[in-house]
């Protein structure tokens, strides 16, 4: 039996059944394409072009993965970059976001609305790609650096606004008042009261940030030329683009032979599998904060 789903708070049995049925249907609709993606990545190219997509490949093959892992060194290096960027980026971003959200959530802070507006404004208006590029390369000199992969995404107005709303909702002013009367400083209150109380919000925002960093190839594509800083997503995106290029521009004999060998469809799906699987493995870690009964600490009340 699971921990704290208290008896008095449970759904009637019949409705529990109905909800489960609805969810099962939804899950089937959601998971079928995913299974298809995994299946195609293990199907041989020959049977793909002969028979089309199949849930159970008539001819299994690891060619797509062999092809993707051909340059193993670069994949390893890129995996380091991605893990580094995702870990440091998510932590850094969470810290900055939490601090700012807390300031904005303080109802007694005179400039909270000014700052909220200052923040919100960036959600709608932006200078566009070229001006950003000019600032990042010519003013901040961040081209081809590790930090260009982190800083531009480290403060998302959307995340701050969400977290601020969570904080306003779950932290009562009375608790903060009480702590202050007890002589706690602002930093102490933030670290010991605000952070523990906003765990579900932090987990939500943390998950969003993690996904953003993990999935990003755009910044790499724009700013990175050094192979040591090429992230996994960017590398896979390049690989995909190379495949497309060879497939559509076969004009030399060698290229033509190459093309016949590339498992184009399968590689596309294998790339997706490589990207998707770690995220799916990371999700349960965040998930525990989204399930009631496990997170409510003793601080409340």
């Amino acid at each position: 039996m699971e921990q704290t789903s208290s008896k008095f708070n449970q759904l009637p049995k019949s409705w529990n059944l109905v909800f489960n049925l609805i969810l099962i249907v939804l899950c089937v609709v959601c998971i079928i394409p995913i299974i298809l993606v995994y299946a195609i990545s293990f199907t041989s190219e020959a049977s793909l072009s002969a028979k089309g997509y199949q849930f159970l490949p008539s001819e299994w093959s690891l060619d797509a993965y062999r092809y993707v892992f051909r340059n193993g060194d670069q994949i390893l290096q890129s995996a380091y970059v991605t893990i580094g960027v995702t870990a440091i980026g998510t932590l850094f971003s969470l810290l900055v976001t939490a601090l700012f959200s807390y300031v904005l959530s303080r109802r007694d802070f005179r400039y909270r609305n000014v700052m909220a507006f200052f923040l919100f404004f960036t959600m709608l208006f932006n200078g566009g790609l070229v001006p950003s590029y000019i600032v990042n390369t010519n003013v901040l000199h961040l081209a081809d650096s590790f930090w260009i992969l982190i800083l531009p995404y480290s403060l998302s107005a959307f995340n701050v606004i969400i977290l601020r709303t969570f904080m306003q909702q779950s932290i009562e002013t009375a608790i903060l008042e009480a702590a202050r009367i007890d002589g706690a400083g602002e930093w102490y209150i933030f670290a010991r009261i605000v952070i523990p109380l906003s765990k579900p919000g932090l987990a939500t925002v943390g998950l969003f940030t993690l996904v953003t960093y993990w999935n990003d190839w755009f910044l790499g594509q724009l700013y990175i030329t050094n192979p040591k800083l090429v992230s996994l997503q960017y590398m896979l995106m390049k690989l995909q683009s190379n495949i497309d290029f060879v497939t559509s521009n076969a004009t030399s004999a060698t290229n033509n032979m190459l093309m016949a060998q590339i498992p184009a469809e399968g590689a596309r799906m294998a790339i997706l599998v490589i990207v998707l699987t770690p995220i799916l493995c990371a999700y349960p870690f965040f998930q525990k904060y989204f399930v009631k009964g496990l997170t409510i600490g003793g601080i409340k009340g």
């Binding site: 449970q10 969810l23 298809l36 089309g52 109802r107 950003s132 709303t165 998707l276 999700y283 009964g293």
Partner: protein, 302 residues
């Protein structure tokens, strides 16, 4: 000198906000000078500031030809996405939260967010496998049952439903996370008290869960109103394979701008489109926020 007084009084709060403010200035406000591109005939020789001003000429193409139809499509789809997206995501969060078996609940959650991680290219491929006129699964089934095959990519009738389905299929699981986390944050005391008072589960959802979700629902709605003139390019361009015959129901502002400008690469006109979309969103948000403020001061965005 209120500002200096505030600064001294809330030194720590300003300090806490400082890193975020610096990031905003560097990465958002510094490049913002680029919006003037929308009013310029940009050339590299004179640079962004030095290029000649041309008034609103870069905006003209946004109001030519099918502009009205495109604006209507963008708005209608976004209305559906905002309203039904809200209802579906909140409903899904509540259902997931109410499932008795925690293990099952977690499994459902994991599966439901999966489509979010598929790129639009892959989504387009998958739906093509179903909808293709020559070898799609649906048409094979229709032919098998002796019915007429449907040429999906040339028939506008089905596309509003297909696009809405694809959108929710891909995003509802992910967007319900916010509400799920929000429900987790509701104090169990409320439910305990309600149970002691003899409230049924439905009453609890209606009178505790949903009111507690109200602030986040309002904020999420305001934020999506800001994006009401923007459309998901991948959904409208890739999933439809940019099939011209479907344009009457699939063309939105973003695809219009893309189709119009890719061959020219005109920076000024691109900037103009962005500014137009942002400006409309901005005005709508200011109005919405003002109304919300009148009704409930604490729920407003700023």
């Amino acid at each position: 000198m209120t500002f200096l007084y505030e600064l001294r009084k809330n030194k720590v709060l300003f300090l806490m906000a400082l890193p975020a403010l610096i990031l905003l200035v560097l990465f958002n406000y510094l490049p913002m000078f680029g919006v003037i591109l929308a009013f310029k005939n940009y050339n590299f020789y004179d640079g962004i500031l030095g290029s000649p001003w041309i008034g609103f000429k870069n905006f003209e193409y946004l109001f030519k030809g099918d502009a009205w139809l495109i604006t209507r499509n963008t708005l209608l789809y976004n209305f559906v996405f905002i309203i039904f997206g809200l209802i579906l995501a909140v409903a899904l969060a509540i259902v997931l939260d109410e499932i008795r078996n925690r293990f099952l609940s977690k499994t459902y959650q994991t599966i439901l967010i999966m489509p979010y991680f598929l790129s639009w290219t892959i989504v387009a491929l998958i739906f093509y496998a179903f909808l293709s006129a020559d070898k799609g699964i649906i048409n094979q089934a229709l032919t098998f049952m002796g019915m007429h095959p449907i040429n999906f990519y040339s028939e506008t009738t089905y596309w509003p439903y297909i696009l809405i389905f694809v959108f929710f299929w891909k995003s509802v699981g992910y967007s319900s996370i916010i509400y799920l986390a929000s429900i987790t944050g509701i104090s169990p005391e409320y439910y305990e008290a309600a149970t002691i008072d003899g409230a049924s589960k439905w009453q609890q959802i209606r009178f505790i869960t949903i009111p507690c979700l109200k602030p986040i629902i309002i904020i999420m709605t305001i934020l999506s109103i800001g994006k009401i003139f923007y459309a998901d390019f991948g959904l409208f361009y890739q999933v439809t394979y940019n099939s011209g015959a479907l344009y009457p129901v699939t063309q939105v502002i973003d695809t219009y701008v893309y189709n119009g400008l890719t061959s020219m690469g005109n920076y000024g006109m691109t900037a103009a489109a962005g500014l137009y979309q942002s400006f409309v969103g901005f005005v709508l948000v200011i109005i919405t926020n003002w109304i919300v403020k009148k009704m409930d001061k604490d729920s407003a965005l700023f």
